[in-house]
């Protein structure tokens, strides 16, 4: 267990990166707190796996340093870093039994046989494979194999960090839930520093204490699930998290009021005068359909998804989503929307702007 510090870190797969675009991972400073569970969330190709592989030492960064508990490990090998990592697709040693697979990392580090036997039994129980311990790994199903990979990742107790690279992709949905819960309880029990890479927001939000959202090689926001939901730091975060994502509406802002196509929209804070590309971000949950006041919309269709209704509408020719309560009637007279002022975020050039109390 360790605190992991990324100092001025950046990585390019090219030998001589010339511009910022050549970097798969753009300059980054961050401290991963000891014993915390993080989720690294982003769409594919955003650099999250690159970051993970740099932490585990499979990749060496083009610039910057990595420190484990304030010791520089940038040039240290993977095994010297003493971390565990689970990959997207199951990696098992086909010719070994499940038991030998789980024991492998311990054996390689010269642990006591008695300890290995006990530990393997524990992990076997944890991943629900006690019965199959003496089977060969080759014939098992993909999710059984992935459980072995997870088990192999967790078998060492003294690791500095546990890294997961989209480990549940190949697992059945109901099993996913179970394994994620187990990982979480494992975290509570042993307090490992965990970093969990995923592109699935549900997975990220349910697993982690803190979610790190990446976009285009850059960390755009780090925060609790609630912060990501209420105060997305970047329009990408707003769009990526939530279902449907945040509505982004071009506007102009002065003081504590925004103008959308000539209609005034009240804001809860004072932003002064903003220059650049100014947009309002409002989550569909905070948009209310009304009959008389607010911005004019045309309703295209209503989707009933069970717990609530999603109203697909258009606002000045652009898509706008509204979440309405399950019991609410949608009448043809509802041609306008209002936003809850507390939940309207203002973005300048895609980054969230912080206002002063009005």
């Amino acid at each position: 267990m360790a605190k992991i510090t990324l100092d001025n870190l950046a990585h390019s797969y090219l030998a001589k990166p010339s511009s910022e675009d050549d970097f798969a991972l753009k300059e980054l400073n961050h401290v991963w707190g000891d014993g915390e569970a993080y989720a690294l969330l982003g769409s594919s190709g955003c650099g999250k796996s690159t970051l993970l592989n740099i932490i585990s030492g499979l990749l060496h960064p083009s610039q910057g340093r990595i420190l484990f508990d304030d010791i520089d490990v940038t040039q240290a090998t993977t095994s010297a870093r003493n971390i565990a990592q689970v990959f997207q697709f199951p990696v098992v040693y086909d010719t070994m039994t499940v038991r030998d697979n789980l024991a492998f990392p311990l054996k390689n580090r010269g642990a006591e046989p008695a300890y290995i036997a006990r530990r393997v039994q524990e992990i076997g129980a944890m991943i629900g494979m006690e019965a199959e311990l003496d089977k060969r790994a080759r014939g098992l199903t993909a999710d059984a194999k992935q459980k072995i990979s997870l088990g192999r990742g967790m078998v060492r107790e003294d690791v500095n960090a546990l890294l997961f690279d989209e480990p549940l992709t190949v697992i059945d949905p109901h099993m996913k839930w179970e394994l994620r819960t187990q990982l979480k309880s494992l975290h509570h029990e042993f307090g490992h520093t965990m970093i969990y890479v995923t592109h699935d927001q549900t997975e990220a939000l349910t697993f982690a204490d803190k979610v790190v959202v990446m976009y285009d090689g850059r960390v755009v926001q780090i925060g609790t699930p609630q912060e990501l939901f209420e105060r997305p730091a970047h329009t990408f975060v707003g769009y990526f998290i939530g279902s449907p994502g945040m509505n982004v509406i071009p506007a102009s802002v002065s003081g504590s009021q925004a103008q959308v196509h000539g209609t005034a929209v009240p804001l809860s804070q004072n932003f002064g005068t903003l220059a650049g590309k100014v947009e309002l971000g409002v989550r569909p949950e905070f948009v209310t359909l009304t009959e008389g006041e607010g911005l004019p919309v045309t309703i295209r269709r209503v989707e009933d998804v069970g717990r609530h209704k999603i109203v697909r509408a258009q606002l000045f020719g652009k898509d706008l989503n509204i979440v309405a309560a399950e019991g609410q009637e949608i009448s043809p007279d509802m041609t306008r929307v209002t936003f809850m002022p507390d939940h309207v975020n203002v973005y300048v050039d895609d980054w969230r702007s912080e206002g002063k109390a009005a």
Partner: protein, 296 residues
């Protein structure tokens, strides 16, 4: 809240990212690499005998026999000129190429439908048939030399290209079926079903849709058919005398009354390597995949 305000990405935009050059070079510094040594030695072992043949083919017989030189002192192309101007020499190449191409075409033509049947359907005796086909790949050509001679003589095909091409089918057809079956198994069956639903007839489906999908497999099978037909000598020599005599058999002619004409022999040898080298050059990007025969 605190975290949102100090989102690290936001703080460094537009980040002035400079690569740290010293570090990059430190990692890429030269170190003696065992693999390079191993590969160099192995390739040297492979190429030295071929180089020696090339070296000899460019020398005069006097130089070959009287001086021991590592490279030709009196570079001469006379040996090649002898071969390329004498019809009894160069027709050997033409003969070889004719039956090799014929064999490749025949092998693929019959192997394609059969491989499809084995990869898609179960039918009476399919496994036995498949294994029996493969046993033909295990048949020693020496066993078949005499019966082939008699068989092709009795049907009047002796000393024709087609006779050699058919004889080589003995080992190339089973191989082609086996390779193609491996590649075809990799094509999902749903593709066939979709095509039939879309109203394709079997021949049209096979030619228009299926064949392009296994093009690499066909290439690999063709490569192996070419290879084994080109390099074989025992059968091709037994089945021919004059009209279809392969170059490999003609090479034995250099043993004249005055001893062996080493220079011409070496030149002829080098010329037999050329078609193979050309084929390899054209398939160079597929070699690694090809040798896996669709079965990895």
């Amino acid at each position: 809240m605190a975290d949102t305000a100090t989102a690290p990405g936001a703080a460094t935009i537009p980040g002035d990212v400079a690569p740290s050059v010293p570090q990059a070079t430190r990692r890429r510094r030269f170190r003696p690499n065992g693999s390079v040594v191993v590969m160099t030695l192995y390739l040297l072992f492979l190429l030295l005998p071929i180089y020696w043949l090339l070296n000899m083919s460019l020398k005069t017989n006097t130089e070959i026999l009287n001086e021991f030189t590592l490279w030709p002192r009196n570079l001469t192309l006379a040996n090649y000129a002898t071969i390329l101007t004498d019809p009894s020499w160069y027709t050997g190449y033409i003969n070889s190429l004719i039956y090799v191409v014929m064999n490749t075409v025949i092998s693929l033509a019959v192997a394609l439908p059969a491989a499809y049947a084995f990869s898609r359907y179960r039918f009476m005796g399919d496994n036995h048939l498949f294994f029996w086909l493969l046993t033909n790949r295990m048949a020693p050509p020496a066993v078949f030399a005499l019966p082939f001679f008699q068989l092709y003589s009795s049907v009047g095909l002796f000393d024709t290209h087609i006779a050699v091409a058919l004889a080589h089918c003995l080992f190339n057809v089973p191989l082609a079926v086996w390779i193609l079956e491996g590649f075809m198994r990799g094509v999902p069956k749903e593709i066939d079903e979709t095509a039939y639903i879309d109203g394709y007839s079997f021949p049209r489906f096979f030619i228009r849709i299926f064949t392009p999908l296994i093009a690499s497999g066909i290439g690999v099978a063709a490569f192996f058919c070419f290879m084994f037909s080109w390099v074989e000598l025992l059968l091709s020599r037994t089945l021919t005398t004059v009209d279809a005599k392969p170059i490999a058999a003609i090479m034995t002619r250099t043993q004249g009354a005055s001893g062996i004409d080493w220079g011409v022999l070496a030149a002829a040898g080098i010329l037999t390597i050329v078609p193979g080298a050309l084929v390899i050059y054209f398939v160079r990007n597929y070699i690694a995949k090809g040798f896996a025969l669709g079965r990895v």
